[in-house]
């Protein structure tokens, strides 16, 4: 898996960075989330915020590796929030309402053998977020934006 890093700081953010993820690479899946967790911990955020953010990133990363050609996670830490944007190039989700239901999954056998694809991911991402937005275009990709309040 290739990870491109370009850290920048702006006036409104304490930290801003994009992490690139390639589809199909299961053995390295989760590398970005482990890294993001360590970054958030080093920033000094409380453990529960770090954990929530890491779970959201991990579920998103597994989704990209499982379904998309490639994708990225944009991480922005502001004084009051952790913002996680997930953008992928892939098949998209035809019926978002259905995909959000617990237990619904289009995972193949390979994904299921690794213990994933039980149809919990998007629901889990939503439950750990204070604000959750999802949009998708079939044959193009999916966009997620999650905000976790840190105060």
């Amino acid at each position: 898996m290739k990870i491109k890093v370009c850290a920048t700081e702006t006036e409104n953010s304490l930290y801003k960075n994009s992490f690139y993820i390639e589809g199909g690479n299961f053995s390295d899946a989760g590398t970005v989330s482990t890294r993001i967790k360590s970054i958030l911990k080093n920033i000094g955020l409380p453990n529960d915020i770090v954990r929530k953010s890491a779970i959201i990133c991990y579920e998103s990363e597994i989704n990209i590796v499982s379904y998309a050609r490639r994708g990225k996670i944009n991480l922005t830490v502001t004084p009051k929030t952790v913002e996680i944007e997930v953008v992928d190039e892939g098949p998209g989700i035809p019926d978002i309402e259905l995909a959000m239901q617990q237990g619904y999954s289009t995972a193949n056998q390979q994904i299921r053998e690794m213990g994933f694809g039980a149809g919990m991911g998007l629901h889990n991402i939503k439950s750990y977020s204070d604000i959750f937005n999802i949009s998708s275009e079939v044959a193009k990709g999916t966009f997620l934006k999650m905000i976790i309040n840190t105060q």
């Binding site: 299961f26 053995s27 390295d28 899946a29 989760g30 590398t31 989330s33 482990t34 967790k37 453990n47 529960d48 954990r51 890491a54 779970i55 990133c57 991990y58 579920e59 690794m114 213990g115 994933f116 694809g117 039980a118 149809g119 919990m120 991911g121 629901h123 889990n124």
Partner: protein
């Protein structure tokens, strides 16, 4: 209970984390379905599972799992052991099946990290 007692109760071998045996643990979660581990396992719990993949180590890291207990005698590959060392996730392996592993720990005072799911 200390991780050292968990090791004794389960007649387990320590694969990673010999230096962590004095760690205190009170709760556990057991599953082979990683989707459910991500949804239900709580920070500081033991993770009882029969899956010994890199993903289990990364999930343990993400969730702040105290230690992984591999059941049914499963042993991770060298690459997975290296990853666990790097991320400082203790791994024990026991020959007991998941049911026996959970039962033996429960009988000695370890409880579920949650009793049942909502809904």
């Amino acid at each position: 209970m200390k991780l050292r007692e968990v090791k004794e109760i389960l007649k387990a071998d320590v694969i990673v984390g010999k230096e962590s045996l004095d760690m205190e643990v009170k709760t556990a979660f057991g599953a082979d379905l990683m989707s459910d581990v991500l949804a239900f396992a709580k920070a500081g719990s033991l993770l009882l599972t029969g899956l010994a993949t890199n993903q289990v180590i990364r999930i343990a890291n993400v969730l702040d799992i105290a230690a992984i207990i591999l059941v049914r005698g499963k042993k991770p590959l060298a690459e997975t052991i290296d990853l666990a060392k790097k991320l400082q996730i203790p791994i024990l392996t026991t020959k007991y099946i998941l049911f026996e592993t959970a039962g033996r720990l429960y009988a000695e005072g370890i409880v579920g990290c949650l009793e049942k799911v909502e809904n």
